[in-house]
């Protein structure tokens, strides 16, 4: 089943001079695939990921997520779609520093509002336990180490059981030990839970272990 379709997506930067970052990019991603986007710096891989995540709406072409065309949705509708169907893990952990780990993990679910606070809290504990962080749950997120913070961010991405998890260099800022831990988590999610994952990386080792590699060069797909 196709979960994400990119149909001839192009994008231009106009500042400082007009420059085409993405050139006519088309590919499909199946449910349960662990895909990595690779390419040299400036190849447009992060830009593509932001387009696919619906956070960047300034492009031409068609993007279909879970059978829904996103081109004519409003920003608020897109926010709703992200909330329900996409989990995001950034290069820099990007947790809210004024909140505890548990609160950070709970936030997307509280926003979705489908479950009661108590159920959400239980789920959040489950996710944190799965990532080996149950003893850190009530600490402020800023008090954790980098690797721990990244795992909290993954737990947060998982809380709403999204269709797709997207990662923008999720291991880019971590040492080799933590990189291995994060990669193992991704692989486990993909293998054991059938989770669709799209991750941007420049770590060839990381990419080689994934199901599928899409390589970009100068805004064009050269391998998929």
């Amino acid at each position: 089943m196709k979960i994400l379709e990119s149909k001839s997506i192009s994008k231009y930067f106009t500042d400082p001079v007009e420059f085409q970052v993405l050139k006519d990019i088309s590919f499909d991603i199946e449910k349960g695939e662990f895909t990595t986007l690779v390419g040299k710096s400036g190849s447009g891989k992060s830009t593509l990921l932001y387009v696919l995540s619906t956070m960047d709406t300034d492009y031409t072409g068609k993007l279909v997520i879970d059978g829904q065309e996103t081109g004519n949705m409003t920003k608020d509708e897109l926010a709703g779609l992200r909330n329900e169907k996409i989990g995001f893990v950034f290069q820099f952990h990007y947790l809210l520093s004024d909140f505890t780990c548990l609160q950070n993990v709970m936030l997307p679910a509280l926003k979705l509002g489908k479950l009661s606070n108590k159920e959400i809290e239980e789920r959040a504990y489950q996710k944190l336990a799965m990532l080996g962080l149950s003893d850190q749950a009530l600490k402020l997120s800023s008090k954790l180490s980098g690797g721990q913070q990244q795992r909290v961010a993954i737990a947060r991405a998982l809380i709403n059981d999204p269709l797709i998890i997207m990662g923008d260099e999720p291991t880019g800022n971590l040492d080799s030990n933590n990189t291995r831990i994060v990669f193992d988590i991704f692989q486990e999610l993909s293998k054991n839970y059938g989770q669709t994952i799209i991750a941007v990386t420049h770590d060839d080792d990381f990419a080689s272990k994934s199901d599928r590699i899409i390589e970009l060069k100068d805004g064009e797909v050269i391998r998929s």
């Binding site: 992200r82 004024d98 997307p108």
Partner: protein, 407 residues
Amino acid sequence: MNINAQIAKTYIVTNKKLTGVAVAGVVLGMSIYIFMNSMLLGFDKASSKSIFKTTPHIRVYKDDEISRPLVSSNGKKMLLINPKIVPAKNTIINPGLVISSIQKMKDVEIVTSQVNANIFYNSGKSQITGLCSGINPEEADRMYAISSTIVEGSLGALKGNPNGILIGSGVSDKMSLRVNDYVNITSSKGLNKAFKIVGIFKTNNSVIDKTKSYVNVLSAQQLLKEGNVYVTDINVNIKNPDDAEKIAIQISASTGYKAEGWRQANETLMAAQRMRKIIITFVSTTILLVAGFGIYNILNMTITQKINDIAILKAMGFKGNDVIRIFVTQAVSVGIMGVIGGMMMATLIITLLQHIYVGGDIGYFPITYEVTKYIQGIVVGMVITFFAGYIPAKKAANIDPVEIFRR
């Protein structure tokens, strides 16, 4: 509690310093706004109160007339080239009828006739010029509250006593006159009459205390060598002094005599009052605005600080409106805390000032808790804090999260 409110609460609690500074700004602006405006109203009330001690709300009298040609000459040149005041008597004809017709009007509370005479007080060799008002003691007391100013003797003793007189404390000091002493009065018409002092009053307005005296209307008419229908002034008090000008026009129209409201009669005081009002309104509004700008800046700063959080929240699926709600909730909470603090502070300042003695005929500092000004302050304070939160939040809500991540 809804998730947006929870986030707002966390921001307020974790940034105590910033919240404290913002709240202090609102407290300062609010309290000064309420206090200044209450002071202004207090001043106005005190000054009208002191005006009403000697001035009626409306004074009806016969104005001087300018001579006119006997035959009106339509379109032709006037025969009189130097019109002057007609030397007529300043008396109101048939005062009983005029009084009863005014009494029938709506909103009129007290109507009393008065006869004023310029006089000399004589005691032995000393002589003081002064003004003697012939009054109907009961009605005049209701109008000017004369009995509340009496320090010796009583107003009651004047009733039905054509030889009684009430004198100001200044007159009594200068001529060392006490109650039951006699004072000789010479009128402008050359008439001499001895009066028995039945009371001494002290208004704390030294000009009045040193010149004024009250006698019965009949005695004043005698001093002016006039009969008992001679009345120069009819004084009218109405329910709401602010309507004086409007009712004066009605009285003028129905009686044909000149009716003058207290504002017209005290134009200089009114001008000073207006000026004071402009200055205080200007100053207090400026302070409130400055406080508003302070809050705007502080909230703008929090939003700039939290711009990453905003991007994360939006990436997680929070909508633009959620972002606005979070920061407006934060701003309004600061507003509510500030408004409550401001009201308490204003109440404290007003209470302190009420205990300061300033002397004169004012006594204690004339300031009261003005409910309308409190309400105004609350409304203005809340509106400013709302927009101080809304405007920067609206800006932040419209940014694409990617734009923030790329920085």
